[in-house]
């Protein structure tokens, strides 16, 4: 539905985006993920028209919109700060785009109430000033306002970034629910990998103005295409040559001259998993108890390794305990140095 082809954006001599190619499907929840300054917001603003690319094309349903003015793109946007107009009521905020389109008052009233209902805002709440609403309600107003003009696409620029952890999780769920309800193609920008993994149908991981990988969350996580993606998504152990040789990984087809990584939960202590063909003795150096799971720091073959174990209620291993560390060589992700 949305196609970005060979997009390049430059600010003076700085190349913010280089050869960006993305194809987003109808109804998809697509996330741009990456660290600060990687180009994800620039790409989003190129789609919405706030930034003009120096090269490449943006098309929606096959129609080139690269030079189409912002207001004619029919793309709704939810801003990082929500950008709700503080001097207006909730009703006036949602009605703003409809008034610009010069719809008649009755139609606007009906549409605003309908949108309010869809995002669970009562008619009483519509009369309130936006400053009187909670963070969650403000987010819903921002979404209702963006969707009121019936856009084909909605773009969300880090809408949860300014919130505390608990509210972020709650609003994340609400957001997913709303997207399902409206069934609208959604482009979402975040630097939070957990948010990206839980919300998205597909993710594009950005780094220094280029896309490192596009894929489903599980693909990105388990089969990271590049060393950057592998390091950026989730916690990971980098395994040294001595460790790999010591556990016999070299004989199991692992190229020890490459940079080798394994996810924390893919290693086990004193758990005899069927596929864990490689083992070694290790000493517990420390542990962190998280309730749902325990993160052990162990030392084996001259290397410190972190291991995450599910909390099954068994007694915890203590500092100095000797344990058996095991893993499956197929879980190792290898990258050219």
């Amino acid at each position: 539905m949305i196609k970005l082809e060979h997009i390049e954006v430059t600010f003076g001599t700085f190349k913010a985006l280089q050869d960006i190619n993305i194809d987003i499907q109808e109804g998809e929840f697509f996330t741009f993920l990456g660290p600060s300054g990687c180009g994800k917001t620039t790409t989003l603003r190129t789609i919405t028209g706030f930034i003009s690319p120096s090269n490449g094309t943006v098309s929606v349903r096959g129609k080139d919109i690269t030079n189409t003015p912002i207001e004619k793109r029919n793309i709704g946007m939810v801003f990082q700060s929500y950008a709700l107009f503080p001097t207006m009521t909730v009703y006036e905020n949602i009605a703003f785009g409809l008034q610009v389109k010069k719809m008649n008052k009755e139609e606007i009233r009906k549409k605003v109430i309908e949108m309010g209902r869809k995002v669970d805002l009562s008619e009483d709440q519509l009369k309130k000033k936006v400053s009187e609403l909670s963070g969650g309600q403000q987010q819903r107003v921002a979404i209702a306002r963006a969707l009121a003009t019936n856009p084909e696409i909605i773009c969300l620029d880090e809408p949860l970034s300014n919130l505390d952890a608990k509210l972020r999780v709650q609003l994340r769920n609400e957001l997913k629910d709303l997207q399902k309800r409206f069934g609208i193609t959604t482009v979402y920008v975040t630097h939070d990998q957990e948010e990206a993994l839980t919300l998205s149908d597909r993710i594009a991981v950005f780094n220094k103005g280029v896309i490192e990988q596009i894929g489903r969350p599980d693909e990105i996580y388990s089969h990271s295409a590049t060393e950057f993606v592998c390091n950026f998504i989730g916690d990971i152990n980098r395994l040294g040559e001595a460790f790999l040789v010591g556990t016999g990984a070299d004989k199991a087809g692992v190229d020890t001259s490459k940079h080798c990584y394994i996810r924390l939960e893919r290693m086990h202590v004193n758990e005899h998993m069927a596929n864990d063909t490689l083992k070694t003795e290790a000493v517990v150096e420390d542990y962190e108890f998280y309730g749902l799971y325990i993160k052990y720091t162990v030392r084996a073959l001259g290397q410190t390794v972190k291991v995450v174990e599910k909390n099954s209620g068994k007694p915890l291993y203590q500092k100095g305990d000797t344990v058996t560390l095991s893993y499956n060589p197929a879980d190792i992700m290898q990258y050219e140095g």
């Binding site: 706030f50 207001e71 946007m77 107009f85 703003f96 610009v100």
Partner: protein
Amino acid sequence: MKEKKISFTPEKLWSIAVFAFFAWFIFSFLLFPNLNTIVSVFYQDGHFTTEVFTKLINSEKAMRSLRNSLILAPSLSLTVGFVGISLVLITEYFDIKGANILRLGYMTTLIYGGIILVSGYKFIYGKTGILTSLFVKIFPNFPIDWFEGYWAVLFVMTFACTSNHMIFLRNAMRSVDFQTVEAAQNMGASQFRILTRVVFPVLTPSLMAVTILTFITGLSATSAPLLVGGRDFQTITPMILTFANNISSRPLAALLALFLGVATILLLTIMIQIEKRGHYMSISKVKTTIVKQKIRNPVLNVLAHVYAYFLFLIYVVPVSLVVLFSFTDSATIASKKLTLSSFTLQNYIAIFQKASSYKPFMVSICYSAIAASIAAVIVLVACRILQKRKDRLSGAMEYGLLIPWLLPTTLMALGLITTYNTPRPWMLNKVLTGTSIIMLIGYVIIKIPFTLRMTKAAFFSLDDSLEDAARNMGAKPFYTFMRVQLPIILPTVLAIFALNFNGLLGDYDMSVFMYHPLNKPLGVYIKSLTDSETNADNAALTFVYAVLMMIISAIVMYLVYGRGNKIDKSKD
């Protein structure tokens, strides 16, 4: 080769028109008049000359005024600094009983300043003043003109110029992180050491800035020397006024104004450098507000209280007497003997009945309101341009509009009246000097820099994504400005309007050069009333004006600062 087509869209034409207006405005009112003043000093009869310097050196009056200003400015900086710092310490740092009432008393200069304040002091200490009459009764040989000259000017201005301390230094004091004081206490530092090593360094940048502002005020002092300076202590501005009234001595007036301008630019440059060196920034994670410090030495504590209340009396007595005597008949004002039967509302009734009494008030209200509105509109357009464009042209426009901030009012006023006393093509060959419009222009331009700085701050604090959101929903720039941005900054714009209106209402410095004889503004009218101090009717009128202006100022201050504080507190 492709030929580049130049297309004139309505938006482009509009921008060209707006820039053309600003170019004309800046050139006509801010740049050319001042350049013309410089030229008039050095070019006479088409020749370059330095004759005016010889004239200046040979003019005893002019040299004395220069010398007086150079004595007044530094001594005023010292006395105002001393009193100002002590006011802030009394109200914000030390535990002085009744600090809230003291603060109110010290802040009276915020609503009672300029020419009306000087006339208030004159009512008490002048030749026929209450205190002077009392002294004469006790000591028959007491000189009745004791409150005249350098010391009188210094005294009046010291207490009139502490407003900046009560605004800026007080804010700086409130930014002191109390945990730093506690940390010093914890390490065994004495109260004096904490004050000098921990608290004062935080205040230093603000203190330097207000000291320089005081120095500039001292250099360009107008009303105090005019009213209480007497024959022997006239400073530069009153002298410029005298010289400007005579065509043959106008170059001398221009040279003195130029001296003021150069001095102001130099001092402001120093102030900007101090500002650039940076203000103290609290690095505290959890900043705590100051807890008032009890003075542990009992003798010092009593002395501090005596000093605090003595200052309170100096501030409050003139205001109180002005208010009190505004409700008395002229016989009481003349005799200064209060009885119950003396009280009357006649002065207030008279001011609204006699055209000659209410006209100056109406003239000032109209001029101030129109000028404050024009300044607000011009600056709103300028700020919108500055927000949208960050190129050399808009940069030049901003600097151009800030010119009056660098130059003393006297120089600007003199520049305007000497430039537009002949037809100029860019003014459609109309002579402006002597017309009703020139004072309005003067009022507008002196308020532009303050309006620009404050409005620009409000504009730049707007979240850019609000405009993006409106554009995303299809709104055009003008619609976005009117419906989204203007409603947000409107409270600030109205507050600036109110402050400008209030500042212009009693203006004397600009008005005295430019007023139309048929439309005498309040400041000039009050000055003419005060000149004949023996006339009790005039004094009564002055008091009523003073009270009315205090009421207006108090309302403005409440609307601008009082309400804002309440909102801030409710947010906490």
